[in-house]
């Protein structure tokens, strides 16, 4: 692989990781809930896209547009039905974190179990836009370019939503100062549910993007959740730009290791980076820490 190949591969992967992490950082930053089942809600839309393409002959782009509102609703419901009772039981704070970790851990198992029953443990994939494209002397599959483009577009969209709209400002306010937000009339629970939904839309879109160019299986959710968590912490909780940069770091690191050392060591790279950040700058490379 030459430098350009690495650049393209790394940035596609990095952009994807950044997008995945953005959804989680919005969820965690606003609702203060660590959603360990996040990865399952990436794989599920991937399967949905797979069904859509192979069984119903639909375009993945159409699936992408479909899962955005679907993902929003699902995660919004998860917050309202599953997580609100915990918030009510423990208030916000360390006890809520423990309870929500456990609850989402259980949810992860259930969702993964359902997908295992429905689809089995094998890898699935479909071909879409795998035609090679020539860019600056380097060949890359068109679907990867599409993934990179959509990831950037969605990330930008989320950023604009959070910074230019009133709802977005409310979301950011709760993220920064959850105890004081009610003082200015903000309904924290409503906003947290909203943030969960926004994260759900992001992760669902990411799932469809993943399905476009990576083979996936029902058991892969855990790995994506872990990478998302690592990127979120590295970038600083609640920091969208941090997610993108940290995601890029991770994407490039993985690509480099896969190319020059061994593709079987990607998780080790993840952890090495994570360990490095924890030892040197636990508050994240670019922003506030986990608490």
């Amino acid at each position: 692989m030459n430098l350009l190949d690495i650049l393209l591969a790394g940035s596609t992967l990095g952009g994807l990781y950044g997008l995945i992490a953005m959804g989680l950082t919005v969820q965690y930053g606003v609702a203060r809930i660590m959603n360990l089942s996040y990865g399952e809600f990436l794989i599920a839309p991937a399967f949905l896209a797979y069904l859509g393409v192979t069984a119903w002959g639909l375009s993945p782009i159409l699936m992408l547009l479909l899962v955005l509102p679907l993902g929003f609703i699902v995660q919004w419901l998860v917050y309202q039905l599953l997580l609100t009772p915990l918030v009510r039981r423990t208030g916000a704070g360390p006890a809520l974190e423990v309870d929500s970790i456990l609850a989402t851990f259980g949810l992860m198992f259930v969702v993964q179990g359902v997908m295992m029953v429905a689809f089995g443990g094998n890898y699935h994939s479909y071909t879409y836009l795998s035609t090679p494209v020539q860019i600056l002397g380097s060949t890359v599959a068109a679907n990867r370019l599409l993934v990179l483009g959509v990831a950037i577009a969605l990330g930008l969209g989320l950023y604009l939503l959070l910074t230019r709209t009133r709802m977005g400002t409310v979301v950011r306010a709760v993220s920064v100062a959850p105890r004081f937000a009610p003082l200015v009339g903000i309904d924290v629970r409503f906003t947290a549910a909203l943030a969960f939904g926004m994260g759900g839309a992001m992760v669902a879109a990411s799932g469809v993007l993943v399905s476009m160019f990576l083979p996936f299986s029902a058991a892969m959710g855990t790995m994506f959740a872990m990478k998302a968590l690592i990127v979120v912490i590295m970038g600083g909780v609640g920091n969208l730009m941090g997610c993108l940069l940290a995601g890029m770091m991770l994407g490039f690191a993985e690509t480099l290791v896969a190319t020059f050392i061994d593709p079987g060591l990607t998780l080790a790279v993840n952890y090495a980076l994570f360990l490095g950040v924890l030892l040197l700058r636990p508050t994240g490379l670019f922003g506030k820490g986990a608490r």
Binding site: M34, L36, P85, L86, R89, P94, A95, E97, V98, D99, I101, L102, A103, F105, G106, L107, M108, F109, V110, V111, Q112, G113, V114, M116, V117, T222, M223, A225, M226, L229, I230, I233, D262, G264, L265, T266, L267, A268, N270, Y271, F274, L275, L278, L279, P282, G289, A290, R291
Partner: protein, 308 residues
């Protein structure tokens, strides 16, 4: 030691002696196997509660240590004496726990949880890489000359050790430090407790038990590969059992292990495909309905007067 305490220790020793005789008269292999499972999960759940109970740092990494122990047996079981195998497993578990602990336990619990979440996956990937590239053989056969009875007794000893340790710690300054940390870590630090050291110590002890348990259990699976050794279900089930029984009390994890081992045995035999879903649902019911576990529920009933 007060008379009440002496009687409690005495009763415990008696129960232990009684349990030790079981393999002598129980000739049914299936029931013995079930008992071994109960013992294994009792050890794992108690070891889990040893650290995660008082500190409220939820560890999702049980199988990372268990699998390392199992692999130690697979690798060294044929060439080294059994005691050496267990010692190596112990050393590996301690080393891993120290690395993880020192890196994450001086920060807030969230980092630890994230780290532990993927730790098993990481170790599994590393072992896979090693097996694929260096030894060129992904699976291993575990040929160790050990009977089911031997495994039973070793697990029983391990259980006695972990319960004894928990009981002993609870009456020492360390136990008080743990309770304070679990209540409010800021206060803990301001009364002079070196919270990082306490947490790392407990985590390492917990990991040591889990690793040795894995080493002891490995001969039960005659064939081992990374997916089998590092199965997420083990972490999950350990967690459920400790939570159901109540991680705060001494016998809580056993109260959770016994019914759930039987339940899971039933479920996996009758609903093999839906096992994960059912286990997940059981878990969520426990989290929502019995957050402090059975022992917590019993304690609350005692406090509010038994006459309800």
């Amino acid at each position: 030691m007060s008379r009440r305490d002496a009687m409690a220790w005495g009763a415990g020793a008696l129960a232990l002696a009684g349990l030790a005789t079981v393999p002598q008269w129980m000739h049914n292999d299936y029931y013995l196997s079930l008992l071994i499972s109960v013992l294994m999960y009792s050890v794992l759940a108690s070891a889990w509660a040893l650290f995660s109970g008082p500190t409220r740092y939820v560890s999702l990494a049980t199988v990372a240590f268990f699998g390392v122990g199992a692999y130690t047996t697979a690798v060294f079981g044929e060439t080294l004496p059994w005691a050496a195998v267990l010692l190596i497993a112990l050393g590996l578990g301690v080393a891993m726990a120290l690395v993880v602990g020192l890196a994450t336990l001086r920060l807030s619990g969230v980092y630890f949880v994230i780290f532990s979440f993927g730790l098993a996956e990481l170790v599994k990937q590393l072992v896979t890489w090693y097996e694929v590239n260096i030894t060129k053989d992904l699976g291993r056969y575990v040929f160790v000359d050990i009977t089911a009875q031997d495994i039973y007794w070793q697990l029983l000893v391990l259980l006695a050790l972990v319960l004894g340790l928990r009981a002993w710690i609870a009456r020492t300054r360390l136990g008080l430090a743990l309770r304070v940390i679990g209540e409010d870590e800021t206060v803990a630090v301001h009364v002079g407790i070196n919270t990082t050291r306490v947490k790392v110590l407990l985590f390492t002890l917990s990991a040591a038990f889990m690793t040795v348990a894995g080493a002891i259990m490995a001969p039960r699976w005659t064939y081992l590969d990374p997916t089998i050794a590092f199965a997420p279900a083990i972490s999950f089930q350990t967690l459920i059992m400790a939570l159901l029984g109540g991680a705060g009390s001494l016998f809580g994890p056993l109260l959770g292990a016994v019914p759930l081992v039987l339940l899971f045995e039933f479920l996996s035999a009758n609903f093999p495909n839906h096992f994960a879903i059912l286990v997940g649902l059981v878990f969520m019911v426990i989290v929502y309905a019995v957050p402090n576990g059975i022992s917590g529920w019993l304690r609350r009933r005692k406090h509010h007067g038994g006459g309800k």
